[in-house]
Amino acid sequence: MPNKKNYTNGLPDPSELKEEILKKYPRKVAKKRAKAMVVNDPSEGQEIMANVRTIPGIITQRGCTYAGCKGVVLGPTRDIINITHGPIGCGFYSWLTRRNQTKPAEGEDNYMPYAFSTDMQDENIVFGGEQKLKTAIREAFEIFKPSAISIFSTCPVGLIGDDVHAVAREMKAELGINIFGFSCEGYRGVSQSAGHHIANNGIFKHVVGNTDRERTGKFQVNLMGEYNIGGDAFEIERIFEECGITLLSTYSGNSTVESFAYSHTADLNMVMCHRSINYIAEMMEEKYGVPWIKVNFIGAESTAKSLRKLADYFGDDELKAKVEEVIEREMVKVKKVAEEVKPKVEGKLAMMFVGGSRAHHYQDLFNELGIKTVSAGYEFAHRDDYEGREVIPNIKIDADTRNIEDLEVTKDEEHFRDDLVTKKTELEKEGYTFKDYQGMMPEMSKNALVVDDVNHWETEKLIDFYKPDIFCAGIKEKYVVQKYGVPLKQLHSYDYGGPYAAFGGAVNFYKEMERMLATNIWKLVDTPWKHEPEIVGSISIEA
């Protein structure tokens, strides 16, 4: 087990570490990886290379486009049958493995516990799979009578020329329910990120705006990029409800396509995970005039800040007062636990390499406990997620990105919310910022090492250099890191814990850190006889 280091007086310059890491790589690999690793200086606008192909042979954390589209974005929506069109694997692996919780009312549809697949066989590859897909859709309709069906293409589908969109149109006409497809073959794009974009496009095209709905509350919002892992959305829903805010739709934790369909009637979109969902927010603003703001409900302080920003948007005094009341009440509980836990974990070191937003958001939670993040990075983010949205115009569009359709969105004259555009303009004048994601790097310490798409070799070296007290990543990394005697907290699945969002979530997270960081179990790793001298056998069986 590594000896822990003390960085209370600032982080050491990791440039040598970076060199050492790169030394191992073949020249071309080293050149590329060098750009993906930045020794952070928050005072400068540094550039990082992100959203580029993973180098073949490198042991990466990343998954594929299908995973981003079906697994991440559409997976958490319960009232739609998601048929995976392809060989069985993809459907099997994305079957209930992401912990998106959902709470249907009695009698409401919930297809999430089911895996639907066309289970393509070699004859489907050879002769085409469209007929099988059609039959599968008909069978699904006949057995389950769902109100919507979507189709997710896996790798071979595009290659053999199956037109899932044509099939979807035909079946939609035949069966009279909403049916649409996604060309989310695994090889598209460079990571899950492409799948998010494809999913955003599909939902926006086929669902958003399908139904109107009477206003049901004074403050109608959508929450975007929140997937209800471990019940996060439930906790946020609770807070919203207590504040008197009407949550029309969440993209896509605890969600329904039914709610997506009328989500354009919201007054505001709040974006949590910028990476996976900003497309819909953008398109909704273009088409319906609904503005969006970046929020963060990870961390108690961040939650308070986001709630206040929300209240400020509506500018309603009653709402503001209610929000303050809720914050005050919740913070009492939060602080109580924080005070108990903080002395036990303060000064510990964390690293996190995960997702498109969590590696940033969770730093807030760690900060609240006095835990320092020494190195972090995203698995599938773009430069704007690191450097802030202001770099978007400067991002070079490469071939992989170009492969993902950019929907052309036009103003919906009937539904366009001119009132919100006016409101936005006024608020901006007062200094209120919309679409203002700053990115991770400006908020990290000087000399923190920022690494995009970290891989196994780099992980080893980072652990060796920093001797962190906790490492945050995913299931593939978990036991590798733990073999070093360093506890790993999964920030995809929360290690089957949570919720960690909002105030109740912060309390849970503090307690979880107490469990992970104040325990003595890691001291059991070394045998008591590790440092004893070897004894030469005496009373041995052979003797």
Binding site: P56, G89, T97, P156, G186, K478, K483, Y484
Partner: protein
């Protein structure tokens, strides 16, 4: 009701699979390759495949599972994956330094027609494979067979690549282990040692997927069949191949390539299959079965006769892989249980034939199906029609267990929510006692939970 849309009316399906009782070839190839010492499995396809397989294996074992990927993008899919694989081989040997890279294909690379043999040949020609290092490759299209097929293909590929008959017979027996747990592999070795037979077990994931916590991560743990051992299998006296689906291909390869004759047995789960395995070992090794083996067997029979009343007539639904289901179902029949519903997504005609042999007379009411649409949804519908007392299968059964209130024993792959399978075998006579302990545990727990207070039993 979590599975609220499952109703008992079974509608014939020909295209839609719901809640599959199988997954795809590459994960099996990855698992098999992990059973070779110093080997890094490599997935030639989109990086999602590799990520999914590693995640699933990791969740099952709660252990590091390393593998690399060719990280296909749209370009590679159009122009072929050769460049990716060549670059990958180069990077892997440079950065991760395995002794062997075991490449398996995916539906993507198979669909575009990548010829792995040719690409690996080119890598060799280009000098990308260092001296003394190896790249083994297996074609494992996801749209054929199942995860079990992928396992069998990778095992065969290793034999094809390494095993060699130098005409110097070695006094050893080859054991093709079938897809079992590291604990089972240990147990198979222990049994073979008890029989006093020298053997090579291949693949062997013990000490690979059950490694100790030592404060140090080892990318290539001490376990796994070594290259020398696999090479030597060509000179063995005999092969005992466990499981028709998992091991027959490799056994035939050894026979054809190296003229090592084989005997095909079931994976030794339960009493009768272990009897046959032990007898096959005895024949292969030309040794008598020692008393110590008969005693282990006798302990199993003792538990069966002691606990018969709690097992007798209990209706069981099972799902999983043919090579494990067949001996397991036979075991249940041996002990007077009633395996009434059995599904396996893995195709293969022998399944139906052998199940019929085992069940025909004893459990005429049994329904069993394998291949397309033989899924857990169908099994659940059968259960809705007429319930069972016990479920046996992988973790996905927990939804049925909870909805229907049926006791559940986890066996098979993957087990995502409990530990133990890596450490305690279910093969052999002792493993069969563990199966009995598990079944009895949940059945008796159910009795304890539901008995009226006046008939709550102290002694059972």
């Amino acid at each position: 009701m979590i599975l609220r849309h499952t109703t008992k009316e079974v509608k014939e399906r020909s295209a839609l699979t719901v809640n599959p009782a199988k997954t795809c070839q590459p994960i099996g190839a990855m698992y098999a390759a992990l059973g070779v010492h110093g080997c890094l499995p490599h997935s030639h396809g989109s990086q999602g495949c590799c990520s999914y397989h590693r995640s699933t294996l990791t969740r099952h074992y709660k252990e590091p599972v390393m593998a690399s990927t060719s990280s296909f993008t749209e370009g590679s899919s159009v122009f072929g994956g050769q460049a990716n694989l060549l670059q990958a081989i180069d990077n892997i040997f440079g950065i991760y330094d395995p002794d062997i890279i075991a490449v398996h294909s995916t539906c993507l690379s198979e669909t575009i027609g990548d010829d792995l043999g040719q690409i690996v040949g080119k890598a060799k020609d280009d000098g990308k494979i260092p001296e003394g290092k190896h790249v083994v490759q297996a074609s494992t299209p996801s749209y054929v067979g199942s995860h079990v097929t992928g396992y069998a293909n990778m095992v065969e590929a290793f034999i094809k690549y390494f095993s060699f008959n130098t005409n110097e017979k070695i006094r050893q027996v080859n054991l093709l282990s079938g897809w079992v747990e590291p604990s089972d592999m240990r147990e198979i070795k222990r049994i073979t040692e008890m029989m006093n037979i020298k053997s090579v077990l291949f693949p062997d994931t013990s000490d690979v997927l059950d490694t100790p916590m030592t404060g140090k991560y080892q990318m290539y743990p001490k376990g796994g069949t070594t290259v020398d051992e696999i090479v030597s299998m060509g000179n063995s006296m005999k092969t005992v191949a466990m499981g028709e689906w998992c091991s027959k291909k490799a056994a035939i390869m050894l026979d054809n390539k190296c003229k090592v004759p084989f005997s095909l047995t079931d994976i030794p789960i339960g009493l009768s299959a272990t009897d046959r395995f032990v007898q096959a070992l005895s024949t292969a090794g030309k040794v008598s079965i020692p008393d110590s083996i008969s005693e282990e067997r006798g302990r199993l029979v003792d538990v069966i006769t002691d606990m018969h009343q709690y097992l007798y007539g209990k209706r069981v639904a099972l799902w999983g892989d043919p090579d494990t289901l067949l001996p397991l179902v036979e075991f249940l029949v041996d002990i007077d249980m009633k395996p009434v519903y059995i599904v396996s997504g893995t195709p293969g005609k022998a399944f139906e034939k052998r199940m019929a042999e085992v069940l025909g007379e004893k459990v005429p009411e049994a329904k069993f199906k394998n291949g397309p649409q033989a899924d857990m949804f169908l099994m659940h519908q059968w259960i809705k029609e007429e319930p069972v007392d016990l479920l046996i299968g992988n973790t996905y059964g927990k939804y049925i267990s909870r909805d229907e209130g049926i006791p559940f024993v986890r066996m098979g792959f993957p087990i995502l929510d409990r530990i133990g399978h890596s450490y305690f075998p279910t093969v052999g006579y002792s493993g069969a006692i563990r199966i009995l302990e598990k079944m009895l545990g949940v059945l008796m727990d159910r009795q304890d939970a539901t008995a009226p207070e006046e008939s709550f039993e102290l002694v059972m």
